[in-house]
């Protein structure tokens, strides 16, 4: 199967039903996408398929055929997506484990809506759990990043 991930083409030989999560983590050693629940309940595995956020644990590899897959590793070329910068400025992460998924959900939100309200942020982010409790900082960081997303334009590698 041929897949385009973060702009690069990958040839893989795995069962078609293997979720993208495991294809990324085990076969391609792209471990930025995290395993938290395996059932679409935590958001730790969030990636983009043609720019839309999906849970990699529930998305079979075959569903990505012919689509652009973007993972946290491809969110920006130089680790400088406005959200990544805002995350650092607000010192968001604690353990860090949920943060790839948080960033990918937030990036999809800002692409549609650079100035989300509190409840729009809640709605977009409610599927992403953070056991360490970084929600208030995530929210603050999303708000501060929104204004830069327009200027930066679509800065995904895909």
């Amino acid at each position: 199967m041929q897949l385009i991930i973060n702009g690069a083409t990958h040839e893989t030989d795995v069962d078609e039903d293997m979720p993208l999560l495991w294809l990324l983590r085990d076969e391609l050693q792209m471990t930025g996408t995290k395993f938290g629940c395996g059932r679409g309940l935590c958001g730790a595995c969030t990636i983009h398929l043609d720019g839309r956020p999906v849970r990699a644990c529930l998305t079979p590899a075959s569903a990505a055929r012919g689509k652009a897959v973007t993972t946290i590793e491809g969110l920006s070329k130089n680790s400088d997506h406005p959200l990544q910068q805002a995350w650092i400025k607000h010192n968001v992460p604690q353990c860090g484990y949920c943060q790839s998924g948080q960033l990918m959900s937030a990036a999809a939100l800002l692409q549609d809506n650079p100035n989300p309200t509190d409840s729009e942020i809640d709605r977009a982010m409610t599927g992403n759990l953070c056991r360490c409790g970084t929600y208030p900082r995530i929210k603050a960081a999303i708000k501060s990043a929104g204004q830069f997303v327009n200027a930066a334009g679509g800065n995904e590698d895909a």
Partner: protein, 755 residues
């Protein structure tokens, strides 16, 4: 981007030298831990009995070892920050190196909120020693008195002339300077702190926002197999019959292996189980579902958590075992003008770290190397060693970042699984726990019932206080026959009553274990503070006084309390009371500030049960004092937390931003357990399985949070845990203010829907 050179790297002492470029000559400074012993210095790190802590390379790089585990509390920033400050190092030139498991570090067990409090003084002296040696080396080069040479921002300056050396230029000559004795060490004054007390950015953040941070689940070793294990659903049962024929047929399955559970007590033994080993995780998970296993009976088969909590509630109403007894409680209660009693319950809770446990092992006949997310690498060395018949020194433990710990990852059961499987397979094995494994096979926070009774005089003052606790002790996980709460659990917010009540008694009641019980963020403080702080609020209401005024009276005059009496010796979180007293003055100050953030006169409509209200709770734990004020709204039986405030006196805050983030996290952790958290067991097995039925607080339920730190120069105390205990009672107290209804049973979702 800030430099990302501070990425995690595990090193032994030898590679530490290599990594830090010291083959080319530089200063290495080490010391024995724990406590403070005069450090040693060498250009080569010769003294192997002591630990490397700082090295300064000719290129100016300062490397600092962090020997504690990072799980979100920021210790990989906090400890090096202290060293760098005393050293006068430039933070941009500091790299943090993760130390391997090694008993020469002293305890590396990262729990009990003690990393900063235990190592603050030592780290400062290490930094000051290195600084002094650099200054002395410069003095010798210039042939001037040492007093004229001053380290500042990675250089040593000759003050009268202004000429200077870079640290790197002095690294080699400094190595041959004598190590300063204790009396020659000048620690900085707090006014001169450059990093201590400042919000230095977390060293691991850049890697965390790019997906580059490596956790236990992310480890990958050549030729590695992945194991997914089906474990006995009930503690103590084992494999009676196994049919693995269907599982074996799945493409990619390499082997299926049995793991034998140990005898009880459970200790850190792996549970009985069947491991499916495959070339990738998906295959292992998929094939595991095809296993057909019959499990043997177990003594715990009849365990039902609802019935168990019922039983504990009955027991705590009966006289129990006396732990402390002051004055004459019976007489005080008999002669009281009003008498009030209540029973509180908290269910079993799971840690649910965002990263499920995972460990990778490579075992040979004479060694084992581990890569894992563990809070206590030395415990891993010891227990993996025991399981394999190796000495602890033959087990090399690389500590990855931890995707959350909260106490779960100080238990090495999952690491032993990997080590044993690797020995069987003769190749590296990574054990991946799924979320279901994590929820069903945790070391649970104990289910509990607590009884409180108090008498009030005609002025509404408490004259007698009786309390009784029943919960399965953590001690039962480690030794047979433990069936009462243990002293170390009563230390945690129960027998350490900070109230000015002449007559008070603490008792325990029987509670046998039926599951592995472990410590979870703030441990027994969870149920103890829920009971104590809820009951105090009930008494305030009974006395017809505002909660803050009532509590100030109840705590009484400023004084230092020593809770020890007779056989009961108060543990004080392992610290002397002289250095970390139980100080009612500090508790009251936190109480006043907490109350100032609330409107305790706000009351909802007690008829309809609708409206808003504030609740407060203050509690000392892990030597820190934290107050929580919460505003809630209840409408048509739907509870919404509107805002929450924490006031914390943690002594000196080394990194105030990380202290604040720990308080924010504690509030959210506390809300999860107060509102939603409940593990249920039926027929001995956990009936929850994943985040749909073991719910955690989500963003839309998370209110605005504020944190106020009390400015303090007292010794640094615990930060990671003390924010949790007062959260649940502050919410229950707020719900009472809003509705007139008192809920004594957690989680609140049993009574209210959670907005």
């Amino acid at each position: 981007m800030p430099d990302s050179s501070k990425q995690i790297r595990n090193v032994s002492r030898r590679s530490f030298l290599k990594l830090t470029g010291l083959a080319a000559g530089g200063l290495v400074l080490g010391s024995a831990l724990p406590g403070w012993q005069r450090p040693w210095a060498s250009p080569t790190g010769g003294n192997s009995e002591l630990n490397l802590f700082i090295s300064i390379a000719p290129d100016d790089t300062v490397s600092i070892i962090c020997h504690r585990s990072e799980m979100g509390q920021g210790i990989r920033t906090g400890l090096p920050q202290v060293v760098a400050d005393e050293l006068e190092a430039d933070w941009q030139k500091v790299q943090v190196v993760q130390g391997l498991g090694d008993k020469r570090y002293g305890s590396q067990n990262t729990d009990g909120s003690r990393s900063i409090r235990r190592f603050y003084d030592t780290m400062r002296r290490m930094g000051a020693s290195a600084r002094t040696m650099l200054e002395n080396a410069a003095a010798q080069q210039w042939q001037v008195p040492a007093g004229e040479c001053k380290a500042t921002s990675h250089r040593v300056v000759h003050t009268p002339t202004g000429r200077s050396f870079r640290f790197g230029e002095l690294a080699a000559p400094a190595a041959s300077q004598p190590v300063p004795g204790d009396k020659d060490l000048q620690l900085k004054g707090s006014d001169d702190f450059r990093y201590i007390g400042k919000p230095v950015n977390t060293v691991d953040t850049p890697a965390m926002v790019t997906g580059a941070a490596d956790f236990g689940q992310d480890v990958s070793i050549d030729n590695m197999l992945i194991a997914s294990i089906e474990r006995a659903p009930v503690l103590g049962s084992s494999i009676k019959k196994l049919d693995d024929s269907a599982a074996r047929k799945v493409r990619g399955v390499v082997a299926i292996e049995r793991l034998d559970g140990g005898a009880e007590p459970p200790l850190f033994h792996p549970l009985s189980g069947v491991a499916v080993l495959a070339t990738n995780t998906w295959t292992a998970l998929k094939a595991r579902r095809k296993l057909q296993i019959d499990w043997s009976d177990s003594d715990h088969l009849g365990h039902n958590s609802d019935a168990y909590l019922e039983k504990l509630q009955q027991r705590v109403r009966e006289p129990g075992k006396t732990i402390t007894d002051h004055g004459d409680v019976q007489k005080a209660l008999a002669s009281a003008s009003r008498d009030h009693e209540a029973v509180y319950t908290v269910p079993y809770l799971a840690h649910a770290t965002m990263e499920p446990p995972s460990a990778t092992a490579m075992t040979t006949d004479s060694s084992c190397e581990i890569w894992a997310c563990v809070q206590d690498p030395q415990s891993v060395q010891q227990h993996v060693g025991n399981a394999l018949g190796l000495e602890p020194e033959q087990v090399r433990v690389n500590v990855t970042l931890l995707g959350g710990g909260f106490g779960r990852k100080s238990k090495p059961d999952f690491v032993i699984e990997a080590a044993l499987l690797s020995r069987k397979m003769k190749r590296p094995v990574k054990v991946v726990w799924s979320r279901e494994d994590d929820i069903r096979h945790d070391y649970y926070h104990a289910a509990s019932a607590e009884y409180y009774r108090a008498g009030l005089d005609s002025d509404g003052r408490v004259t007698g206080w009786l309390q009784r606790a029943a919960f399965p002790s953590i001690g039962g996980t480690f030794s047979a026959g433990v069936d009462h709460p243990a002293g170390f659990e009563l230390d945690l917010g129960f027998a350490d009553l900070p109230f000015a009540v002449d007559n008070h008694r603490s008792e325990t009641q029987q509670a046998e274990y039926h599951a592995r019980i472990g410590w979870l963020r703030s441990v027994a403080n969870i149920q103890n503070a829920f009971g104590r702080c809820s009951f105090a609020d009930e008494l305030a209401h009974a006395a017809g006084k505002p909660a803050d005024r009532f509590l100030l009276e109840l705590i009484g005059p400023d004084r230092l309390v020593d809770p020890s009496q007779g056989d009961y010796k108060y543990g004080n979180y392992g610290e002397p009371l002289e250095k970390f007293p139980l100080d009612t003055g500090r508790l009251k100050e936190v109480l006043r500030r907490t109350a100032a953030r609330a409107d305790l006169t706000l009351r909802g409509d007690q008829q309809s049960g609708n409206g808003e209200g504030w609740g407060i709770a203050v509690h000392r734990s892990f030597l820190s004092y934290v107050g929580i004020a919460t505003r809630v709204r209840v409408q048509d039986n739907r509870l919404e937390i509107m805002e929450m405030h924490a006031v914390a006196d943690v002594g000196l805050a080394v990194n105030p931003d990380r202290v604040k983030s720990q308080m924010e996290g504690s509030m959210i952790f506390g809300m999860s357990l107060a509102l939603l958290g409940e593990i249920r067991m039926e027929d001995g097995a956990v009936s929850n399985s994943n985040f749909h039925d073991y719910q955690l607080l989500r963003m839309h339920q998370s209110p605005p949070l504020e944190v106020e730190l009390v400015d303090s120069q007292e010794a640094p105390a615990g930060v990671g845990e003390p924010g949790v205990p007062p959260v649940a009672p502050s919410i229950a107290n707020a719900v009472f203010a809003a509705t007139g209804k008192r809920y004594r049973e957690l989680p609140l979702k049993k009574h209210l829907s959670i907005g």
